[in-house]
């Protein structure tokens, strides 16, 4: 079989590596007998050498690259985990510090070959928001194994619920042209006489999430008893209906709900207000602040950390274990007393919640909610993030999301520019964005279905197979007929 051959070729690098090393006198056993710190030091030096070879011809080696390597080596080489209690958190916290400080050194970084410059802070915010969405979808697809092709719907719900309650959408108009309705609650930087509903966007992040979760439950309750592929198509249907409702919603029963194809602009901005600014030094208003993008960046980091924490804790909880059980064998899970519908609906609602929060934050960040950003393509885009990184593994999903978001925002355009500069190929790479994602999905599913950084358990499922026949399966064996046999 062809695919078997391919699997073998893919398995080769590990074996080949040891074959080459054995010739130099390093066998696998001897290597493993070395102290861990030496081993890591060797790896770090090798990484540095590879980076040198790769970077030098393109951008030269500058100080920034050296600093990057030093930071990497400091976090990676010393056996931090030997320090009792706090030790295992040190590399993670170090990484976090590096990410948090990103706005301070983003423009001083070197240029990567082919992919181009490191993302700017604005792109960084988008990357983080996408990462949050991918983490939310990971709960549905990765943990519970339900294929959701309409995830963009929750993103849209989040965005619109933020837009409704933080803009002039529902201002109405008096005959004299002034606003009819006006309601303000802790809104920052808004003229108190301005019409429309203006709640504080902090609250709207939660409201967006809760709305999305409620709609997720509404969608989930009737449909989650369908088997996987039917669920996929139903979610896809919702993902197509909601944007259309948003697009046509400027005259829904005579009411302007969504402002139609123009979308709702502008939205209120985030901020802590003048009082907190004076007392605690927190930024008063993100939009006016000179480092607005950085503020959005740090806020997004906090949101991603919360999502990450919830994901990890949920995975380890009773509920998370129930999801995995359902994913692997619905029948057995049900026999063990797991309530299928409730568990699946919860997965759906929690995934929707994070999608909604991400949507609300994105709408506030871009100060608009627009129906054109909620296409099926986007659902698939988020799905690629989850699958590329490794379904079920939050770290893999994070990396996959950041990488794909970067490709989407800048990487593909940079690649196109690089191709035309260096190879003379005049190829409009971003035009083929989704074709590239399609190839990624295909290659991943065929050769590495568990993702680049797989969850051990998920990997096993793909290698040994699972029993995922649905329980709600009403059939006699003779009833299934293809063809006009009647």
């Amino acid at each position: 079989m062809g695919s078997e051959l391919w699997r073998r070729i893919f398995a080769l690098p590990g074996a080949a590596r040891w074959a080459v090393l054995a010739r130099v006198g390093v066998t696998e056993d001897a290597w493993k007998a070395w102290p861990v710190m030496y081993r890591r030091a060797v790896v770090a030096v090798l990484v540095g050498l590879v980076a040198l070879v790769v970077l030098a011809p393109f951008s030269g080696i500058d100080l920034a690259a050296v600093y990057t390597w030093i930071v990497f080596a400091v976090l990676f080489v010393p056996p931090w985990e030997r320090i009792p209690r706090v030790g295992k958190f040190i590399p993670a916290l170090g990484m976090l510090a590096v990410v948090v400080a990103y706005p301070y050194y983003a423009d001083k970084l070197y240029t990567l070959p082919i992919l181009g410059a490191f993302p700017d802070v604005h792109t960084g915010v988008v990357m983080l928001i996408y990462a949050m969405m991918a983490l939310g979808l990971n709960v549905v697809v990765g943990y519970a194994g339900l294929l959701d092709l309409g995830y963009v719907a929750f993103y849209a719900i989040g965005a619109y619920s933020a837009a409704w309650f933080a803009s002039q959408q529902f201002a109405g108009q008096n005959p004299d042209g002034s606003a009819k309705h006006s309601f303000h609650f802790l809104a920052i930087g808004i003229d108190p006489t301005l019409g429309g509903i203006h709640l504080t966007p902090w609250l709207l992040l939660v409201v967006g999430g809760v709305f999305a979760a409620l709609i997720g439950m509404l969608i989930g309750l009737p449909t989650l008893r369908l088997r996987g592929d039917y669920l996929a198509i139903v979610t896809l249907g919702f993902g197509e209906i909601l944007p259309q409702v948003a697009r046509n919603g400027d005259s829904l029963f005579g009411q302007n709900i969504t402002n139609g194809p123009q979308g709702i602009v502008p939205l209120d901005t985030l901020g802590f207000g003048n009082t907190l600014h004076r007392v605690l030094g927190l930024p008063a208003n993100y939009q006016i602040a000179p480092n607005g993008d950085s503020l959005y960046f740090w806020t997004a980091i906090v949101l991603v950390l919360i999502t990450l924490f919830c994901s990890l804790r949920l995975r380890a909880s009773r509920l998370g274990r129930a999801w995995v059980a359902i994913r692997e064998d619905e029948t057995a899970a049900s026999a063990m007393g797991i309530p299928l519908m409730r568990t699946k609906t919860l997965a759906y609602a929690i995934g929707a919640f994070f999608g909604g929060v991400a949507g609300a934050y994105f709408a506030i960040f871009t100060s608009s909610a627009n129906p054109d950003s909620f296409q099926l393509n986007f659902s698939v885009f988020v799905l690629v993030m989850v699958i590329l990184g490794g379904m079920g593994n939050v770290w893999g999903v994070l990396v996959g999301a950041a990488f794909l978001a970067y490709l989407d925002q800048a990487g593909l355009a940079n690649t196109g520019a690089w191709l035309s500069d260096h190879l003379g190929l005049n190829l409009d790479v971003p035009k083929y964005e989704f074709g590239i994602y399609g190839v990624m999905l295909l290659v991943m599913m065929l050769f590495r279905p568990h993702g680049l950084i797989p969850e051990a358990r998920r990997k096993m499922e793909f290698e040994h197979g699972v029993h995922d026949e649905p329980l709600y399966d009403e059939m006699g064996d003779d009833a299934h007929v293809a063809g006009a046999s009647h």
């Binding site: 079989m1 062809g2 697809v141 294929l147 449909t223 369908l226 088997r227 996987g228 592929d229 039917y230 996929a232 198509i233 139903v234 249907g237 919702f238 197509e240 209906i241 259309q244 697009r247 046509n248 029948t331 026999a335 099926l376 698939v380 799905l383 699958i387 083929y432 989704f434 074709g435 590239i436 994602y437 399609g438 190839v439 990624m440 999905l441 295909l442 599913m445 065929l446 279905p449 499922e461 793909f462 029993h467 995922d468 026949e469 329980l471 709600y472 399966d473 009403e474 059939m475 006699g476 064996d477 003779d478 009833a479 299934h480 007929v481 293809a482 063809g483 006009a484 046999s485 009647h486």
Partner: protein
């Protein structure tokens, strides 16, 4: 269902028939009938026009829906790439008609028909082979993988095919001359005329459908298909080459999509890279509506969807209009899946409940 035997012994939670669901369903059908009746009474001419458009649309959907149903019947896989195979078939036949056979507007029947039939044949063969290769590359290696895996590759193939179309024809509509098919009047009802181009659609669709039914019903290969659909393992034990049969099914499904592609491109005279996916979803809805895995059901469902679309777009009295077509069709899909997953024709298929 290959592993149905293993689930057999386990107690199944049979879905209880929801007492209120049939009432809601009947209510909706009643409203629909009233709406149609009022529209007919208010503007009979418009109604007949919509009816004729609907039947023509429906026959294109039928060809695509049959492809979904065939593949679903045998592999229980929603072949998301099917709509895009159809779209590539449409582009293929548009290219053939324009650049190879040089058919302009208002050609005589003598030069039109050979070109039409030749394009039909080439497009069918092209799409058939394309579809069978997709199965080989993207679905066959994943037959033992978890269910989501082939679905994901199906989505992936769909995007890849769309990008192939972009690379080939660019992101804009490619159009044929509007009068590529003759628009002469066949018959007229009142002020409504039924023109030749619509008749040609039916004339091309009907033989393809008859040939398909004959193939599935009366040939040995068709028997093998039905056997494989019922129980893959048992079919293999009876000496049926299951892989070949599955490939053959994809070939046939692709051929149908190719035929639909030609008909779509000459009748609607314009096609774009993303239209296949959209139409594919409508066709899938049609297949589900008729009871997936059921050939007459797919045709019936396709006619229903075609009529829904044309009534909605054309009628004047309280019709939501073309802005809402997508939402209406997908709402039908969701309602059917939730309340009557076995489809209109009511066969108990394994997807039920």
């Amino acid at each position: 269902m290959t592993s149905a035997a293993s689930t057999e012994t386990i107690v199944r939670a049979r879905r209880r028939v929801n007492g209120i669901a049939p009432i809601i369903g009947l209510g909706l059908v009643g409203l629909l009938v009233v709406w149609l009746a009022v529209n007919f009474e208010k503007a009979p001419a418009l109604f007949v026009k919509a009816l004729l458009i609907g039947i023509t649309n429906g026959s294109v959907y039928a060809l695509v829906a049959l492809g979904y149903t065939l593949v679903y019947g045998i592999l229980e896989l929603i072949n998301f790439a099917h709509g895009d195979v159809f779209m590539l078939g449409g582009m293929m036949s548009a290219t053939l008609m324009l650049s190879v056979f040089h058919i302009g507007s208002g050609e005589s029947a003598l030069s039109l028909w050979p070109a039409l039939l030749a394009s039909l044949a080439i497009s069918m063969v092209f799409c058939g082979i394309l579809n069978a290769s997709i199965e080989k590359v993207a679905y066959r290696p994943l037959r033992r993988a978890p269910r989501v895996a082939p679905l994901i590759t199906a989505i992936a193939m769909s995007f890849i095919l769309q990008n192939v179309a972009i690379a080939w024809k660019g992101p804009n509509y490619i159009s044929l001359p509007i009068n590529i098919l003759p628009h002469g009047v066949v018959f007229s009802i009142g002020r409504n005329t039924y023109t030749w181009d619509a008749l040609i659609v039916v004339l091309l669709t009907a033989p393809v459908l008859v040939a398909l039914v004959w193939l599935v019903q009366y040939t040995k290969q068709g028997k093998a298909m039905r056997a494989t659909a019922q129980d893959r393992e048992a079919a293999a034990m009876m000496g049926i080459d299951v892989n070949r049969t599955i490939s053959f099914t994809f070939l046939i499904a692709g051929g149908l999509a190719g035929a639909a592609g030609l008909i779509y491109s000459v009748y609607f005279t314009s096609i774009r890279f993303d239209q296949g996916f959209q139409l594919g979803l409508f066709a899938f809805t049609a297949a589900v509506l008729g009871g997936i895995g059921n050939l007459p059901g797919a045709v019936l469902g396709a006619l229903f969807i075609g009529l829904t679309q044309s009534f909605n777009n054309t009628l004047g009295w309280h019709a939501p209009g073309s802005d809402w077509t997508q939402s209406i069709v997908f709402s039908i899909l969701i309602l059917i899946l939730v309340f009557r997953p076995e489809g209109i024709l009511g066969e108990r298929t394994p997807e039920g409940g």
